[in-house]
């Protein structure tokens, strides 16, 4: 295998790393440094930050995860719908039936979540 063809990529990686290091290193040296209380506080859309879960030992409800996973169910469905829609004519009836089956399958999961109370917050 000719490794020579990879040299430009390696060069790019090295250059990128050097640039990042350079930026971080040079900023405190050349920039002015006048801190005050407001500048040092964490910034969260202009309001006082709520306690962070990570590192502080607090947990947040598992329901957030549930919602996130449910989102994935529909997300994936949409991802598959786009290419199918684009090539609808080429795929014809076969594609249509397959897609109906696919949506039905996704709805099986939805039905399960719904009936078993996965959509209720409490």
């Amino acid at each position: 295998m000719n490794l020579g063809q990879w040299v430009p990529i390696v060069g790019l990686v090295v250059l990128g790393a050097l640039f990042a290091l350079f930026s971080v290193a040079i900023a405190p040296v050349v920039g002015p440094n006048r801190p005050n209380r407001a500048k040092l506080s964490a910034y969260e859309c202009g309001i006082e930050p709520t306690p962070e879960p990570v590192g502080s030992g607090r947990r947040f409800p598992v329901k957030f995860y549930l919602t996130a996973m449910l989102f994935i169910v529909f997300d994936i469905e949409i991802i598959f719908l786009y290419p199918w829609a684009v090539s609808f004519n080429a795929l014809g009836t076969f594609g249509f039936v397959e897609m109906l089956l696919f949506i039905a399958t996704a709805f099986v999961a939805y039905a399960y979540v719904w009936r078993r109370g996965g959509l209720d917050w409490d």
């Binding site: 295998m1 684009v86 399958t105 999961a109 039905a111 399960y112 719904w114 009936r115 078993r116």
Partner: protein, 514 residues
């Protein structure tokens, strides 16, 4: 953007040959709907009938399709001899495991948790442990897992194989965490299995990337022809093989990727352990032989010493560490590791004999190990199963029938003639000899002799010790467990005395298509 519409060709689908997988996946989806819409009381019976019906139907279809030898679904799936044989084995072993899983007479509600979301160790948890019902999600999960395994053993390109790997792995992770008792241990095992499994999957994917880098192909046939024709360095090829093999050897429980096995086998509900030890092995080795025999045929097999070294390590680690085990499930776990080593020896025969003996071994081992775990589910006290070996002391006096059966299964594991353990080992070792791998056989024989000691210890414990105060009772199994034990025991005996018909079948099936 327009798609070149002429170029889009619909793949040909052989529905008949794909039917076993379609049946299982369909039944699993119906199972999920049953969970959603049917009242709690009726779910168990419905799920059981549905699961058994689907598996039996799948098995029948596999048998009727046994003559099929073709690539289908755009060459993504190969339905050849080994694939059909392994699918049939998976269905058959799945039926036996399902019987064990569905047993509910041993404790009220069966071995599975009623409400998995309850925090372990709380008051609520103790209440749920005593509940008379149980969650029935395990049935659709089982069907999904089996369907995924069937796809895994017939996948003809690396991406399909990866998808199948995830399809059967995810249900397995969940099923491990479903134990009704000792829930922390069970959840811990599920978590470990999940984390390490993802780790192994990542290696597998990385390996696919490497192989694609080498050949520009993901199909086994493509990789094979690239090996024949490519002029570039084989570095990528071998790194790719190593990483793909790693992902598969992880599932197959070969050292040094066996670390999860003892913990997971111990923590998971015993019927699930039985299912995993039989069916996951079939699936993992099914995929491994396909990768090695289809994609890598014609590489002069020069990777053989590397995998041979893994086989030796696996056999030795499994057999030597099982000597020190004090828990019956961990003992069987280490024995399962050692058995993975024996199967690898057969695989490394790298010939038709190697293939057919590997297929044979997978079936024989599967039946025996399910029956063995079936006996484990019977030995219980007030806190559920009593798995510590000291608790098995004197069991032979309390219940000679089941202790006798377990002794027979242990003898089979130890490879005593006229049990399937002997014929299976003999077949794989003979295949390895035929492939010129005598050094592996020497290690195999030594390891199987070492492995006889822990089995013997269990037997001695059961028959030759006084039953103590703490010797648990052996529950009378219900019809389902009895059926499991009877099938497992009979298969062990019959395949030990007249293995020829099954060996003929595997010989007949041992031909891949590319």
């Amino acid at each position: 953007m327009t798609i070149a519409q002429d170029a889009l060709q619909l793949p040909h689908l052989n529905y008949g040959a794909l039917a076993p997988m379609l049946i299982l996946f369909g039944a699993a989806a119906v199972g999920v709907l049953i969970e959603a819409f049917v009242p709690r009381r009726s779910r168990y019976a419905l799920q059981l009938v549905l699961g058994l019906g689907a598996l039996v139907a799948a098995l029948i279809v596999v048998i009727t399709e046994s003559g099929t030898r073709e690539l289908t679904a755009g060459a993504a799936i190969a339905l050849d001899g080994p694939a059909l044989f392994l699918q049939g084995s998976l269905a058959a072993l799945g039926i036996v495991a399902l019987l064990l899983i569905a047993e509910r007479t041993l404790e009220p509600g069966g071995p599975f948790v009623a409400a998995a979301a309850v925090t372990a160790g709380t008051e609520e948890d103790r209440t749920q442990a005593a509940r008379e019902d149980a969650g029935t999600e395990v049935y659709p999960l089982l069907l999904f897992a089996l369907g995924g395994m069937m796809l895994f053993v017939s996948a003809n390109d690396l991406l399909t194989m990866f998808v199948a790997l995830e399809v059967f792995s995810l249900p397995l992770y969940l099923m491990c965490g479903l134990a009704r008792r000792r829930r922390l241990l069970s959840q811990e095992s599920a978590m470990k299995y999940f984390l390490l499994g993802s780790f192994a999957s990542a290696f597998f994917l990385f390996g696919i990337a490497m192989l694609y880098g080498f050949s520009g192909q993901i199909s086994f046939a493509g990789i094979h022809s690239a090996i024949q024709t490519s002029t570039q360095s084989t570095t990528l090829l071998y790194i790719g093989l190593a990483l793909v093999a790693l992902g598969l050897l992880f599932k197959a429980a070969a050292a040094p990727f066996h670390v999860w096995i003892p913990d997971v086998y111990q923590g998971a509900p015993t019927p699930i352990t039985a299912f995993m030890s039989a069916c996951t092995k079939v699936a993992a080795f099914g995929a491994l032989i396909r990768v090695l025999y289809v994609a890598f045929q014609g590489t002069d097999w020069d990777f053989r010493p590397v995998i041979g070294a893994i086989a030796v390590l696996t056999m030795l680690v499994g057999s030597i560490l099982s000597v020190t085990q004090t828990d019956i499930k961990r003992l069987l776990a280490y024995s399962s590791i050692a058995n993975a080593g024996y199967i690898l020896v057969g695989v490394l025969g790298l010939s038709k004999d190697g293939l057919s003996s590997t297929l044979f071994y997978l079936v024989t081992y599967g039946f025996t190990v399910i029956a063995a775990f079936g006996v484990v589910t019977l030995v219980r006290d007030a806190d559920g199963e009593a798995t510590h070996l000291s608790r098995w002391a004197g069991l032979g006096r309390r219940s000679p029938l089941y202790a006798g059966l377990f002794t027979f299964l242990m003898l089979a594991f130890a490879g005593i003639p006229l049990t399937s353990g002997f014929t299976g080992k003999f077949a794989v070792f003979a295949a390895a000899i035929g492939g010129g791998q005598s050094w592996l056989v020497v290690f195999g024989v030594v390891s199987s002799m070492i492995l006889a000691f822990p089995y013997l210890r269990v037997v001695v414990m059961m028959w030759l010790s006084e039953p103590g105060e703490s010797t648990p009772t052996v529950s009378i199994p219900g019809a389902l467990t009895s059926a499991t034990l009877a099938i497992g025991g009979l298969a062990t005996l019959v395949l030990g005395v007249v293995p020829a018909p099954l060996l003929d079948l595997t010989n007949h099936a041992a031909q891949f298509i590319r």
